[in-house]
């Protein structure tokens, strides 16, 4: 029996890139399942489309840049980018939305900058913003929670809506969003945005069908599911607690102050925290190790900045949700933040 003695270090860090990426992807699962429960199978098809395109684009770019394709693909980063983009797309958007978005995310936002670890902007969010700017119509057509839709949408209907634009029975997406009274049902944040600009008050708006007890139906559960996934990631030390905590705290403070100052002109803090992409963004988007700030103090500044931007864009901007824009804007500030928050190196005196 040979007794092999390995040289030091004897403790190995298991956190390889591929493992980190896979854990983040797995932590999305509860959120995805909740999304499927409330909004139908569309999300699954979008994720599949986005992941496939992202991996194919990544392989093509790596091959063009003379890198070992299979070895690099195994770091799972393209898979995660596709997954994150697929999650954020409206479930019944046409198929080419997911394809164009992930192509842009991988080719322009990631590989052109030099591949994994070199990109300034979060690739998934860059792809999302391109889609939102280019195709505002498709990107804002979220179906209301299935419990509120008047028609049954089967898996075949979902497939046909994504690939042909019409369900098996001939309904278009716009028709499916209309309830029996003829009102178009939008997402909670969208409803509030349009309502407030039409001189309606927040308490009036929260009587609309998509809300129950001033929280969006379905959206609350989805956000709680992503919160659980995120807490697991923090527990496993895959992501740092600073970014989510600082982001959620700053968003809470800004929205709470604004709601207290004008209860009828602004949404409640709980709606801000449990609606749209807040929790998904806090734990899965902002914590991207490449494009977020890397120093401890920098992480907090970065996250507070995103929280501030999210609140301002949701409250005063032209788009209902703001995670993507806020993250991209904050990504631009990261080199500066990192420069001014370099931690003191042991043995060096403070300036």
């Amino acid at each position: 029996m040979s007794f092999r003695v390995a040289s030091s270090p004897h403790n190995h860090v298991k956190n390889k890139t591929s493992r980190v990426m896979m854990l983040v992807a797995l932590a999305c699962v509860p959120g995805i399942l909740t999304q499927v429960w409330y909004f139908g199978y569309g999300s699954l098809i979008q994720i599949l489309l986005a992941v496939t395109t992202a991996i194919a684009a990544e392989a093509l770019c790596l091959q063009q840049r003379n890198y070992p394709v299979v070895k690099r693909l195994k770091d799972n980063s393209a898979l995660l980018t596709g997954l994150l983009l697929g999650i954020s797309l409206p479930p019944l958007a046409p198929w080419w939305i997911a394809v164009i978005g992930s192509l842009f995310a991988i080719v322009i936002a990631k590989q052109v900058y030099g591949g994994l670890g070199q990109n300034i902007f979060n690739p998934a969010m860059a792809g999302y913003v391109v889609l939102l700017v280019s195709f505002p119509l498709s990107m804002t057509l979220w179906l209301p929670p299935l419990t509120l839709v008047e028609y049954d949408i089967s898996f075949v209907d979902t497939l046909m809506l994504i690939f042909t634009g019409y369900s098996e029975t001939g309904y278009s997406l716009a028709q499916l969003r209309v309830d029996l009274d003829g009102f178009t049902m939008a997402t909670p944040l969208d409803t509030i945005k349009t309502g407030l600009s039409n001189q309606q008050t927040f308490s009036e708006l929260s009587q609309i069908k998509v809300f129950s007890e001033q929280l969006g139906i379905g959206w609350t559960a989805v956000n709680v599911a992503y919160l659980c996934g995120g807490l697991i990631l923090i527990f496993l030390k895959v992501i740092n607690w600073r970014i989510p905590v600082a982001f959620l705290t700053s968003l809470f403070i800004f929205s709470w102050v604004c709601h207290v100052a004008s209860p009828d002109g602004a949404a409640t803090a709980s709606l801000h925290l449990l609606s749209g992409a807040t929790m998904f963004g806090a734990f899965f988007i902002l914590t991207d190790p490449v494009s977020a700030s890397t120093t401890p103090r920098g992480k907090i500044i970065f996250a507070v900045l995103v929280g501030l931007l999210v609140f301002f864009i949701r409250q005063y901007g032209g788009y209902p949700d703001a995670i993507a824009f806020a993250v991209l804007l904050a990504n631009m500030c990261v080199p500066l933040i990192d420069y001014y928050t370099k931690p003191r190196v042991y043995g060096h005196t403070t300036r």
């Binding site: 322009i108 052109v112 700017v133 280019s134 195709f135 505002p136 498709s138």
Partner: protein
């Protein structure tokens, strides 16, 4: 390679005003949302560039060195005014579409750059030919960018050709596909930046190969030098 060939090579590829010197980016990015707009602005710039190169070359020996830049600007400005009035008269719709970017040709650094760097130092025939080649280099890039953006954004090509070529051209445009929603990014300025970047990348990728094709295999230079120190190893 004689001097004419050298000028063509410099203007069209090696020292292309748009892809290499990156001059005149403002109109380049702003008005290239369709191929016809790009062609219109490219032709206007080409005309101004040839005219200004010829004029500057003619008067180059009488201009005191200290005031040469104001003189060049005056020459260019008068030519731009001529182009603007001509376009106002004959291609009114295009004139309205291009708007402020026609008078802004005055500020196109590619033009004053050629006046300063080439026309003020060379005889008239070379200056005119340089204007033609530099202008064509700019025009080709403008047209490529406009065509790519138009196809990506609207799925058409040469939409509105009658604005330049008259009524006969009203059925020239191709409809490649008719999208449900236009790809707005390609039509908006950010798309122009991204596509321009990709064009430059493409040019750099094939740079060596085309240079070999045009100039031919360079004779390998053998550098002979006298060693003043003894070789160490």
């Amino acid at each position: 390679m004689n001097q004419y060939q050298e000028i063509s090579w410099q203007g069209l590829w090696k020292n292309n005003p748009a892809l290499v010197q990156m001059l005149g980016l403002c109109p380049l990015l702003a008005v290239t949302n369709t191929a016809v707009n790009a062609l219109g602005l490219g032709l206007a710039t080409l005309f101004v560039l040839i005219g200004s190169n010829i004029t500057v070359s003619i008067v180059r020996n009488w201009i005191p060195n200290e005031i040469r830049i104001p003189v060049f600007v005056m020459v260019i400005a008068s030519l731009v005014t001529i182009v603007q009035l001509l376009m106002n008269a004959y291609t009114y719709e295009l004139y309205q579409t291009l708007g402020i970017f026609i008078p802004l040709i005055v500020t196109n650094c590619a033009i004053i750059g050629r006046a300063e760097a080439f026309a003020s130092k060379n005889s008239v025939q070379f200056a005119a030919y340089d204007g033609l080649m530099m202008g064509s280099g700019f025009l080709v890039v403008l047209l490529a960018l406009g065509a790519i953006r138009e196809v990506l954004g609207n799925g058409t090509l040469l939409q509105g050709a009658e604005q330049i070529f008259g009524e006969a051209a009203s059925n020239w445009h191709l409809v490649l596909f008719s999208p449900e929603q236009n790809f707005l990014l390609a039509i908006l300025p950010p798309g122009a930046f991204i596509i321009m970047g990709l064009l430059i990348a493409l040019k750099n990728k094939y740079d060596k190969r085309i240079e070999k094709l045009v100039i031919g295999e360079k004779t390998k230079q053998t550098i002979e030098r006298a060693r003043v120190t003894t070789e160490s190893a």
